[in-house]
């Protein structure tokens, strides 16, 4: 374990303070200068200077000072100064000089000086220094000022817990117990009690149990400690007296302090897995959820509830309505978590109630024009969606309500609604008729192009009866408005006059051009990404009141939508021909549809719009025209049946994937071959698993302080060794690189290969990139043919490939000048910092549009198969493929996939691969990397360039 670091102060290197100056100031009698000098000395020490001669100055001139600030600074100084000899680990002899001062401080008339000194002793680890102070510490236990008693108790606790501390203070538990009985101050009692908990548990338990009746009246600090103790005590299995503890915990559940309540609830769960206990804990959490206004608390309480759900789902199901009540919080994160939790707790019994509540919430968002109303509504819609998928019977009650939101200004919410409708209409045939009717009624309200196209598809696909088909056609016509879209006279006007076209059209064109301007030129064609990023312009402005939504969208140049309109009309006409007994009517409808299509084509080819119709849409519309003019049975079958079939297949696929995922999840929780097996019948309560749970609590703290690291795989260890110098160099060095989260540790082994003693041998390192050396190098003397382990810590502050350069400098006795051996460079791999992660498709697209740094790497590989190439890249970059495997299926000669990873610093790394198989069998294409910072884009690009070759190499 490295030396612990107790304080950090930013040190400005711009003002170097010489040890001499500090010394002079310390020796002076000016208090202010002395304070300043002490501060500088502490900062220098923190910065790695050792200042060995300063200690005596401090002892001589600072120790006797009466000033309180100086005394406190002195304690800080003593706290960080090296108290042990580096080589032998023995306490430095001069340290004994401070003992007298500490003893005086412990008897100081000023209670605060006594207090801070006692606090300092808590951090002192040297029994040699503590020993003479013990009587004074004990004397302070009886002081009448609580500030002193508090710290005296913690000091005793800290000392007793030192290795061999029980020899220093053999009767500490008795002393503390005695002090505890007469103590009134809350903090002091807590400190004393904690001491007993840590060092003499049975005494602490005795104290707790004798006061069991009064625990509810204890101060909150003490209650917290008590809960902690109970947790600890009940770790040991088969406690017969568990009931007594549970009784105490239950009494604490109604404590006035919410922190205590929270802690007790946690303890209760770890104490017992009986449904009653879990229910009490869950109820308590729910109370906290509604009573605490702080979002942080809500989120963390929700986390706890999530954990409870994992282990006690059956109990949690009962509190689902209480959890739902937390939706009243305006915070989006809280709401999302609540919905997540609730969706996991659905049962046939409560689903009705939940959906009703959600419905009410949706209505509420309509009424209050909340800022985040749209986003919230989207979340609610999604939640209802998943409820309905799981329990189709509830769909009927909500779908009509939701369809009111098709015309929502929040495109995302509207898209969700329409997707929901699409799925329900397929899976719930009973609802079809009413839904189609409803859709026809509300169609004119739809503003967004994506929603429109989806709604059109539904109309085309599910309008079956005569009346439905007819009204669908008439609705579409109505929405398109009067034909033609544009006349020759208009063209003439716009061509001969240089002024812009009609005001109506003008505003539309401006809005449709906006995506082009915004996405900095190059990315204008990426419609999928830009549409969601800037969703509001996609809603045609100025036309909200009009019913002709389709017309304004098409006039804004949305020819994809126009193609969809054409297809839908074709489909409807084909169906009409089936259901309409009168041939004339069908023909009339057919000609009407043809007219619309032709008008669209005409508009597309005019110079009226800045962009002519794209080839794809043109082809589709032309196809529709041809089809209507010349229908055939096979074509009819394709249009009227195959579409539906493939949609059904898609839904089935989705369902299948979800169940697969569920299965995979379930698989993970299966027991490992070497796991402990809980025999339910052999144990009254599943207490044993709590043992592990509590161990996790202990580990948690250790992990947080960095004390606890998992043992690395020994086989891989050796791969990490880097040779730094040649075998024939006078000094051989190799490094073992350990990469932790935020730091890199180099364990360098240096071997003297000569027959001479090397003096002042120093390992000098320099770094490039976001790396920083923590310690300054030390000088060593190396005997002939001996070796030395040197450890260097390097701090990493962002994900970036870094390089560490270095050299070893040394002197030999006969040659006076210094010799230098330059070391091999150490490259720090970015792969150590990124880990595969997932994100939603929409989020990926948003980030893709937003991030500024792109690195485009041309594909150059020997790999012939595009699938294989993708796997190779995934493997070598340690990323996750977001594109679902089903989309990558099949042999089509090209592949496009999105990869995603996250760094430990929370940075996102996005990669898009698009490759195509050339005629000669080679792969070509590009890999694009995007990130917020340059570092990742560059280093990841380098990595890919290096690795993509793949194949035989």
């Amino acid at each position: 374990m490295e030396k612990p670091c107790t304080l950090l102060v930013h040190f400005d290197k711009g003002s170097p303070s010489m040890a001499n100056e500090i010394k002079a100031d310390l020796e002076g009698s000016d208090v202010a200068a002395k304070v300043d000098a002490m501060k500088r000395a502490i900062m220098l020490l923190l910065n790695g200077e050792t200042l060995p001669h300063l200690f005596i100055t401090v002892v001589r001139y600072v120790l006797p000072s009466e000033d309180h600030t100086i005394q406190k600074l002195l304690l800080l100084y003593l706290e960080i100064v090296d108290k042990r000899d580096v080589a032998s680990g023995k306490v430095l002899p001069e340290m004994i000089l401070i003992c007298q001062n500490l003893r005086n401080n412990l008897q100081h008339p000023n209670e605060y000086i006594r207090g801070v000194t006692l606090r300092f002793l808590c951090r002192l680890n040297e029994p040699e220094l503590l020993e003479p102070l013990i009587p004074s510490i004990l004397a302070n236990l009886d002081h009448r000022h609580h500030f002193i008693r508090r710290h005296a108790l913690s000091a005793i606790s800290a000392i007793y817990r030192l290795p061999h501390g029980d020899q220093l203070l053999p009767d500490a538990p008795e002393v503390v117990e005695r002090a505890l009985t007469g103590e009134q101050d809350a903090s002091a009692r807590r400190n004393g009690f904690l001491m007993l908990c840590a060092c003499a548990q049975e005494r602490a338990v005795a104290y707790l149990l004798t006061n069991a009746e009064r625990v509810a009246e204890w101060p909150d600090l003490l209650q917290m400690a008590a809960v902690d103790l109970i947790r600890k005590v009940c770790r040991s299995p088969n406690r017969a007296d568990k009931g007594r503890y549970i009784k105490i915990i239950i009494s604490l559940l109604s404590a006035p302090n919410s922190a205590v309540v929270y802690e007790s609830a946690g303890a209760l769960v770890s104490l017992s897995s009986a449904p009653t206990a879990v229910r009490a804990a869950a109820n308590t959490y729910c109370q906290l959820l509604s009573s605490q206004s702080d979002n942080n608390v809500k989120l963390i309480v929700l986390d706890r509830l999530h954990e409870l759900r994992a282990s006690h789902r059956d109990v949690m199901v009962d509190v689902v309505m209480d959890v739902l009540r937390a939706l009243s919080s305006p915070n989006v994160d809280v709401r999302r978590k609540v919905l997540d939790l609730v969706l996991d707790l659905l049962t046939p019994r409560n689903v009705e109630e939940v959906v009703m509540y959600l419905k009410k919430e949706v209505v509420k968002t309509q009424a209050g024009d909340l800022e985040k109303g749209g986003e919230y509504r989207q979340m609610l819609v999604q939640a209802i969606h998943s409820c309905a998928v799981e329990y189709p019977e509830v769909a009927g009650s909500v779908v009509h309500l939701l369809m009111d939101f098709l015309g929502d200004t929040n495109v995302a919410a509207a898209v969700d609604v329409v997707l929901f409708v699409r799925e329900i209409i397929e899976t719930n045939p009973k609802l079809r008729v009413s839904m189609i009717q409803r859709l026809i009624d509300t169609f004119y309200q739809i503003r967004a192009s994506r929603v429109c196209s989806c709604a059109l598809w539904i109309l085309g696909e599910y309008s079956l009866s005569l009346s439905e088909v007819e009204s669908a056609i008439s609705t579409i016509k109505q929405c398109l408005g009067d034909l033609p879209f544009y006349t020759v006279s208009e063209e003439g006007e716009s061509t001969d006059a240089s002024k812009p076209a009609q005001p109506v059209v003008n505003s539309v064109t401006v809005s449709s051009r906006r995506p082009v301007v915004l996405a900095d030129g190059t990315y204008a064609t990426q419609s999928a990404a830009t549409e969601t990023a800037i969703s509001s312009p996609a809603v045609a402005p100025g036309s909200l009141s009009s019913t002709q939504n389709l017309r304004s969208l098409i006039l804004s140049g949305d020819f994809f939508l126009a193609a969809v309109v054409a297809c839908t009309l074709t489909k409807l006409v084909l169906r009409l021909e089936e259901v309409q007994p009168s041939k004339a009517e069908a023909n009339k409808a057919s000609t009407g549809a043809l007219l619309i299509m032709v008008s669209i084509l005409q508009l597309g080819q005019s110079s009226y719009l800045p962009h002519p119709i794209d080839n794809d849409s043109y082809d589709r519309i032309v196809l529709c025209v041809r089809l209507l003019c010349n229908t055939g049975d096979d074509v009819r079958k394709v249009w009227l049946q195959s579409c539906r079939q493939s949609f059904t297949k898609m839904l089935a696929e989705k369902q299948f994937r979800e169940t697969e995922e569920m299965k995979a999840k379930a698989q993970i929780s299966h027991a490992q071959p070497d796991d402990l097996i809980d025999f339910y019948h052999l144990k009254s309560r599943r207490g044993m698993s709590q043992l592990e749970l509590e161990d996790a609590v202990q580990d948690d703290l250790k992990a947080a302080t960095g004390e606890f690291t998992k043992d690395a795989d020994d086989a891989n260890r050796l791969n990490r060794i880097l040779q730094l110098t040649g075998f024939s160099d006078p000094v051989y060095a190799e490094a073992y690189v350990t990469v932790h989260h935020y730091d890199i540790v180099l364990d360098v082994t240096v071997i003297n290969r000569t027959k001479e003693t090397l003096q002042n041998l120093c390992l000098e390192l320099a770094t490039m990139g976001d790396l920083k050396l923590v310690d300054r190098p030390q000088n060593y003397t190396l005997a002939p043919e001996s070796s030395k382990q040197i450890r260097a810590n390097i701090k990493v502050s962002s994900t970036e490939t870094g390089v560490i350069f270095g050299n070893i400098v040394y002197e030999t006795s006969n040659v006076m000048e210094r010799s230098v051996v330059v070391l091999n460079d150490i490259h720090i791999d970015i792969m150590d910092y990124i880990s595969p992660a997932t994100c939603a498709d929409v989020a990926f697209r948003n980030m893709w549009a937003e991030f500024e740094w792109e690195n485009k790497v041309a594909v150059n590989t020997v790999i012939q198969d595009e699938k294989e190439f993708l796997d190779h890249i995934i493997k070598s970059t340690n990323m996750k493929c977001l594109t679902p495997p089903s989309a990558l299926d099949g042999e089509c000669g090209f592949i496009a996939a999105n990869l995603y990873a996250k760094s430990v610093f929370g940075e996102d790394a996005l990669v898009n691969i698009s490759v195509e198989k050339q005629a000669d069998g080679k792969l070509s294409g590009y890999i694009r990397i995007r990130s917020k910072t340059q570092g990742i884009a560059l280093s990841l690009g380098d990595k890919i360039t290096l690795k993509q070759k793949g194949g035989s190499s």
Binding site: N331, T705, H741, E907
Partner: protein, 524 residues
């Protein structure tokens, strides 16, 4: 339940101040702090971030973040409380909330953090309390300092007074010119000793510990106590510096010094004989001590209950060789005086010639450091007029207060030193208010006794008075008054006029001291 660290960092991740409450390596904390700005997202409505191992709870303060690093099991409610407290503390201690300002007040902030979080555990304190703790204003310290100061002042006053008194005495001595003693050199020496003491006064007890200069009050006070009695009794010249611990002690010391005045004078006289005869011991080879103890009980409204004087003549011989001597004594004829001699003393010789000598001429007086009592005497049946000091006490209740008037009258026979008249008082919360006094007073609250002390009663102040006021009390509570004093002449006026050696040679040098002390002198 544990806060790992409380820190302030800039938005760019520069750690400005950080205080860790559990052991963690430097690289670890720096790494955690550097990672934080990247983890904290924008536009979130909650202020905590969780990573794999730790949780950060933070609060933006202008261009900075104030954050707590906790483990993930930590109680969020407590942590938020703590954070709230810290966020109130930071502006208190760092007036300008930017990097520079925080760096400048880094240590003050660390002190404040320490008060708010004790070793990772939350403390229930308010901003006011933290401020109070950090200011470290302590009444006890002030009281302690005041006490120290007053003690120093008191000692200094006493010293001055003593010096002037000694000056006065010297003048008187010069006038009286008693015996052949050099009356000038003695007091000078004493004066000089005092000056020495005043210089080294603050350095007492410095030998007791390392660097504990002037701070180790206990040892300072206790050391002289242990060393004092023997020094006063046998080796008056030694260790003068050790005795200035308390005024009281100084008085006693001076008292004995004065009682031994002559001895000291002889001591410093350059004497070739003496140095040859006894090179080692500082005092004379033969010392005679004459002491009379007074046991007096006087009734409060006149009349003597008991008046008894007991006298002793004791001899100290340092060397065996000087033990073969006889003492010639003389005394005033006082009615009621009766002598008793040691069984080994030749009674006949004593009764007939007033010579004290051993029965067996070949047996010397015992030698060594111990004093051997040779003759005892008693004086009985003296009447009130012979009392060296009479005290009248007149308590009178007036309204809600009791006025107490006390006066003393001293007989002309004696010059009394270190007169202390102790008047018991009813239990009082504060010292009585003394309206008028000849001399000095001191209130001993523990025993609730008012001590009226007059250093010297001589021709100039044969009578004196004091008046003080206390809350109403029964007059009998002010009795019994006890009186202590000493004088350098005795009732019997017994003196050794000469020493005759039993063997050939010169009579050894001798010194004598006589004193009268009030062993038990009460007004009931």
């Amino acid at each position: 339940m544990v806060v790992l660290a409380a820190s302030i960092i800039s938005k760019s991740g520069k750690a400005l101040v950080s205080r860790q409450f559990v052991d963690m390596s430097r690289i670890r904390i720096e790494g955690l702090l550097a990672a934080f700005p990247k983890l904290v997202g924008t536009g979130k409505q909650h202020t905590y971030v969780e990573t794999e191992n730790v949780r950060y709870v933070y609060q933006p303060i202008e261009g900075l973040y104030l954050l707590l690093i906790t483990n993930k099991q930590s109680n969020i409610l407590e942590d938020l409380d703590t954070l709230r407290l810290l966020s109130k503390l930071v502006p208190e201690y760092s007036p300008s909330l930017d990097e520079e300002g925080v760096c400048k007040t880094a240590f003050e902030l660390i002190f404040a953090f320490d008060e708010a979080i004790s070793l990772g555990n939350k403390e229930n304190v308010t901003v006011q309390q933290v401020k109070q703790y950090c200011e470290m204003e302590s009444h006890e310290e002030k009281a302690h300092k005041l006490m120290m100061q007053s003690k120093i002042n008191e000692t200094r006053d006493v010293m001055k007074k003593k010096a002037s008194e000694l000056d006065k005495m010297r003048m008187e001595r010069g006038k009286l010119d008693k015996g052949g003693y050099s009356s000038i050199s003695g007091p000078r020496v004493i004066e000089k000793t005092f000056n020495d003491m005043s210089i080294t006064g603050s350095g007492f007890g410095s030998g007791s510990g390392l660097g504990g200069l002037g701070m180790d009050m206990d040892s300072f006070a206790s050391k002289p106590k242990g060393g004092r009695p023997s020094a006063a009794a046998t080796a008056p010249g030694k260790g003068l510096g050790m005795k200035l611990g308390k005024t009281q002690k100084t008085n006693q010391f001076l008292e004995s010094l004065k009682a031994e005045g002559e001895v000291i004078l002889e001591d410093v006289q350059p004497s070739s004989v003496q140095s040859r005869a006894s090179p080692l011991p500082p005092s004379d080879p033969v010392t005679v001590t004459i002491e009379e103890k007074l046991n007096v009980t006087v009734k409060r409204d006149g009349g003597v209950n008991n008046f008894d004087v007991q006298g002793t003549l004791a001899l100290q011989v340092l060397n065996d060789a000087d033990g073969f001597i006889q003492l010639q004594i003389e005394n005033q004829d006082v009615p009621g005086l009766s002598f008793k001699t040691h069984p080994n003393i030749n009674k006949d010789l004593f009764n007939s010639q007033q010579v004290v000598g051993a029965k067996d001429p070949n047996r010397p007086f015992p030698s060594g450091q111990n004093e051997t009592p040779l003759v005892k005497w008693r004086i009985q049946g003296m009447d009130e007029s012979s009392l060296p000091l009479s005290v009248n006490c007149w308590p009178s209740v007036s309204g809600s207060e009791t006025y107490v008037n006390i006066e003393y009258e001293a007989a002309e026979m004696f010059d009394l030193h270190n007169v202390v008249i102790s008047i018991p008082l009813p239990a009082l919360r504060e010292a009585p208010s003394v309206r008028q006094i000849d001399g000095e007073w001191k209130y001993d609250s523990r025993n609730s006794v008012l001590e009226w002390s007059i250093l010297l009663i001589d021709q100039s102040n044969r009578s004196g008075s004091m008046e003080f006021v206390v809350p109403p009390a029964d007059p009998s509570t002010f009795f019994p008054i006890s009186i202590g004093f000493s004088a350098s002449s005795t009732f019997s006026d017994l003196k050794v006029t000469g020493i005759r050696p039993l063997k050939d040679g010169n009579p050894p040098k001798y010194s004598q001291r006589a004193r009268l002390v009030a062993a038990n002198y009460q007004v009931v």
